[in-house]
């Protein structure tokens, strides 16, 4: 067991190191993306243009020996453009028949760039693929090759002509990571690296089988019952109008986190424990991953929007108010 854990940590560190060759700083984003991949989850990256979101995903695909496709979402993008379609093809016998032409979704890593620019119809085409990891076209279900990740980006500004992601789709993302501006030294490093003729070459650090083993190990990591209960209480505390809700949730939330939020928190905590060399998830892990795992699952009410309250603000208050002791039915107020 200790060998497997050591292998996990080693692989994680190698991938991170390879990504570090092209991505300067953004440690939280890189860690978060890698945690989501280790937990077999999808990631929504939100940030203004030019912060390296697309570069990060491309570098990741290079560091892990996986197939990669990029889809630029635009308002006129159709579901078939992503999933694929049946085309009338002539077979070697000269007879014409429908033949399925795979779309870009048939890849291990799919970069859905500016996903909020596509229409809801097109966005919804991703739902089955993200959850069931299969595509239904022409009445036939086609399995996607494991592992399968959707790494989507969206731009928080320039909202005209965009279509906010439906809640169902948002809920399917394991993490929502907010990409922020680099600091002064980081920006200097970015400029230095990108304006020189010779650039670092990203090596493949992990292959597909190794990644699958890592994902399997993550699910085995034990979570103490009181840590699990704490995660449950956190999720329950976000449900407004219930006995378990904290005040801030009642005041600012219209809907709280779904059970997927709890699953994501626990899985992410497990990955974080492994990456830190521990063999069990802890309260600290839960607290560290809660924002990224839950922020996109909370729906703010009008009062919160009017006051400029964000889901991060609500979640921080929830983390403050929920005690680490107690049963799932109890939320310390």
């Amino acid at each position: 067991m200790e060998d497997r854990i050591a292998e996990f940590r080693d692989a994680f560190a190698r991938v991170k190191k390879e990504i570090g060759k092209t991505i300067v700083g953004q440690t939280e984003i890189v860690d978060g993306t890698l945690q989501a991949i280790c937990a077999a989850g999808h990631v929504l990256l939100e940030g203004v243009p030019g912060l390296g979101k697309t570069l990060l995903v491309r570098t990741l695909s290079e560091a892990i020996d996986l197939s990669f496709n990029r889809v630029q979402f635009t308002p006129d993008l159709m579901p078939a453009d992503i999933l694929g379609t049946n085309l009338v093809m002539e077979n070697p016998d000269g007879r014409r028949e429908f033949q399925f032409q795979q779309g870009p979704i048939f890849s291990h890593i799919v970069l859905a760039d500016e996903i909020n620019r596509a229409t809801p119809k097109t966005q919804s085409a991703m739902l089955e693929a993200m959850q069931e990891k299969s595509v239904t076209a022409g009445g036939k279900i086609r399995r996607l090759d494991e592992p399968f990740f959707v790494l989507a980006t969206q731009n928080p500004i320039d909202q005209e002509g965009t279509y906010p992601l439906p809640e169902a789709q948002l809920d399917r993302f394991f993490y929502k990571l907010l990409v922020t501006y680099p600091s002064g030294p980081e920006l200097t490093e970015v400029i230095d690296r990108t304006t020189q003729p010779r650039q670092e070459r990203v090596e493949r650090a992990v292959d597909r089988q190794q990644l699958l083993r890592m994902q399997g190990l993550v699910r085995e990591v034990p979570v103490p019952s009181h840590v699990r209960d704490y995660a449950v209480r956190l999720v329950l505390a976000t449900h407004p109008g219930t006995d378990t809700a904290v005040d801030v949730a009642n005041q600012y939330l219209r809907f709280g986190s779904s059970p997927r939020g709890g699953q994501s928190v626990i899985l992410a905590a497990k990955v974080r424990a492994l990456t830190e060399g521990r063999f069990n998830a802890s309260f600290a892990d839960i607290k560290a991953v809660a924002l990224a795992a839950l922020r996109h699952r909370l729906i703010l009410n009008f009062e919160a929007q009017a006051e400029g309250i964000t889901t991060d603000h609500v979640l921080k208050k929830v983390l403050e108010e929920v005690s680490t002791s107690g049963t799932p039915a109890e939320v310390a107020k």
Partner: protein, 638 residues
């Protein structure tokens, strides 16, 4: 030691510490709760009419929370998993211990987790968290206790109505106590001769007990006292025999007294003479002896100490005086052994001892003088007593007359000679008129006289016996009457006390008819005057009228500060009105004669008056109770 054993050892130690720590915290929480409850009770006591006993009870009950808190904290026993969680939290072990305990039996992860847990425990410093600390509640406890102690110095607020009610209840209870005590004393020492009188006294006793036990309003208490008073009055009216009682009362007020009789008085005289050494010293001679002794004591005190300082003349003079004094005392038949000792000391030249012995002799002599005075007084009484039956009845000396009659009856029955019988009949015939007011006594004496004159001695003696019984009945009725009157007086005082809401002592100013003046500062004996009735002569000595007691003077003239003024005398500032409901405090000040015509501007006059008033205030010429009123009065001119 395996990893699991290491972890269990640490957890057992931590669990023990945690249990005691929880008990300690429970104790402090108990102290906090007790302090809070006691503080609330104290606040309630200060603001509301809560009895002091209730405050004490709440305080004691609250103290019980401390052991309860301790036991409550100690009782709970933690499981190893709970202890592991606590150690994880205290040492920031990131749930390594709790995970190890929870998954110790897991095949794949158990070993790893136990190793990690043991490693983390060995690295951490467990001693740093196993310390007993004061919880935050201890600060609040200290604050509460401080507030409570401070509040203890704050006088409690009680409304005037409540104070009045409380005072009223105390006065009713006190009146009940005194009435019950009075009735019991009467029943014990002056047992009523008549059943109705005894029943009336019992009703007073019951009334006293009721007033003490039952919470009554003023009206109810007055009604009950009034009912009993009416009953006493009815009983007293039924016993009223104006003529006989008037004479007996006169006799009791006179120096001779009526209750003792010749025999008793003679016994007292004999007893006193026995104490004086069997002789009846002359009062004047004793006074002269005392005067000589005082002079000799003065001489002895002036004698220089030591033989060196004494002159032969002085010594000779003193010896002569001492010898004269001894001769005088021997002439009077007095026994003053200290004089002999003084003489012995003088002969040995111990002048200091002479003075001491003379002092002792003076004390003895003063005692003898007191006894001689008492003896003289009694002898005077004996001389003033009636000489025959008629005179005794005339003077109201019923007891003496009763004894006289008994003596006559004895003689009549014993068959004394005719001359003696004739004297007896003569005395009886002279007593007929004075016996007129003593019920059937006159008729019975007349009957005895007639029977005696006809020679029927036995019948005459029988009639005399009936007359004596009649006198005895009258004496008993008089005794009952006196008891009833005393009790009526006590009931009146009780009514006055309850009705006016004044203390018992303040209501008995009229005296009890025993000759005591109502003036004076009073003594401890005034609290219970019942016993004075048994010896009115002694009671004379406690009249302390005219004695000054500065320590008992009213407030305002001592350093105890200004006392609370009585109702109606507290100055009230009312602008623009004169005497709006009470007399305006005023005082005569020496100043300018205001007669005649004044040509001074009014402003100047006011200013001058204000200055004079201020001067008078500064010189403490104005009583403190009026200073504020005077100051406000003159300030209002501005």
């Amino acid at each position: 030691m395996s990893d699991l054993q290491k972890i269990r050892t640490v957890l057992a130690r931590a669990a023990r510490h945690r249990r005691w720590s929880r008990a300690w915290n429970g104790l402090l929480w108990g102290v906090f709760a007790a302090s809070a409850i006691w503080l609330l009770a104290l606040v309630a006591f200060k603001l509301l009419p809560v009895p002091f006993a209730a405050l004490c009870a709440i305080g004691l009950g609250a103290c019980g929370l401390m052991p309860v808190g301790f036991v409550w904290g100690w009782w709970k026993k933690d499981s190893p998993l709970d202890t592991a969680k606590w150690v994880d939290n205290e040492l920031a072990l990131k749930e390594r211990l709790s995970a190890a305990i929870e998954f110790q039996s897991s095949e794949s992860w158990g070993g790893v987790l136990l190793r990690e847990g043991a490693r983390s425990v060995s690295r951490a410093s467990l001693g740093s968290v196993l310390q007993y600390r004061l919880p935050r509640v201890a600060r609040w406890t200290v604050l509460l206790l401080f507030v409570g102690v401070t509040l203890g110095f704050v006088p409690e607020y009680r409304s005037q109505r409540m104070l009045d009610e409380r005072k009223q209840a105390e006065i009713i209870k006190d009146a009940g106590t005194r009435l019950e005590h009075h009735a019991k004393t009467v029943l014990q020492y002056r047992e009523p001769a008549l059943k109705p009188t005894e029943q009336a006294m019992r009703s007073v006793e019951e009334l006293g007990a009721d007033l003490q036990k039952i919470k009554l309003t003023r009206a109810d208490a007055l009604e009950r006292i009034s009912n009993v008073t009416d009953r006493l009055k009815e009983q007293a009216q039924s016993l009223e025999n104006p003529e006989a009682f008037r004479r007996i009362r006169q006799a009791s007020r006179s120096a001779t007294g009526a209750t003792g009789g010749d025999a008793e008085l003679q016994r007292k005289i004999d007893r006193l003479q026995e104490r004086m050494g069997g002789n009846s010293a002359d009062l004047d001679a004793l006074k002269a002896l005392k005067k000589r002794l005082d002079q000799l004591r003065g001489s002895a005190a002036d004698m220089p100490t030591g033989e060196a300082g004494t002159t032969p003349d002085l010594s000779q003079q003193m010896g002569a005086d001492l010898a004269n004094l001894m001769q005088l005392s021997q002439d009077q038949g007095l026994s003053l052994p200290d004089l002999d000792l003084a003489m012995a000391a003088f002969q040995q030249g111990e002048y200091d001892r002479v003075a001491e012995m003379l002092d002792s002799a003076q004390v003895d002599l003063e005692k003898m003088l007191e006894m001689a005075k008492a003896l003289h007084r009694m002898q005077t009484q004996q001389e003033q007593a009636g000489r025959d039956l008629g005179e005794q009845l005339e003077k109201g000396q019923v007891s003496t007359a009763y004894q006289n009659l008994q003596e006559m009856i004895r003689k009549m029955r014993e068959g004394t000679d005719g001359e003696e019988i004739r004297k007896i009949l003569q005395e009886v015939s002279e007593a007929l008129d004075p016996a007129g007011g003593y019920g059937q006594c006159q008729a019975l004496l007349r009957q005895a006289l007639q029977q005696g004159e006809t020679g029927n001695r036995q019948a005459s003696a029988e009639s005399l016996q009936q007359a004596a019984e009649e006198l005895k009945r009258l004496m008993e009725e008089y005794g009952d009457m006196q008891s009833l009157l005393d009790t009526l007086k006590a009931c009146e005082i009780a009514q006055q006390s309850v009705g006016n809401c004044q203390g018992w002592g303040a209501c008995q100013g009229g005296g009890t008819g025993n000759g005591l003046s109502s003036r004076g500062v009073g003594t401890w004996a005034d609290g219970n005057q019942m016993w004075k009735d048994f010896d009115p002569d002694l009671a004379q000595r406690w009249d302390n009228s005219g004695i000054q007691r500065p320590d008992m003077e009213s407030r305002g003239h001592t350093d105890r500060g200004q006392g609370p003024g009585t109702e109606g005398m507290i100055p009230t500032k009312v602008r623009g009105k004169f005497t709006p409901g009470g007399p305006m405090p005023s005082i005569t000040l020496r100043g300018v004669n205001l007669k005649g015509e004044s040509r001074v501007q009014v402003e100047e006059a006011i200013s001058a008056a204000q200055q004079e008033a201020q001067s008078a205030l500064n010189q403490e010429k104005i009583p403190r109770a009026f200073q504020r009123g005077v100051r406000d009065y003159f300030d209002d001119f501005n």
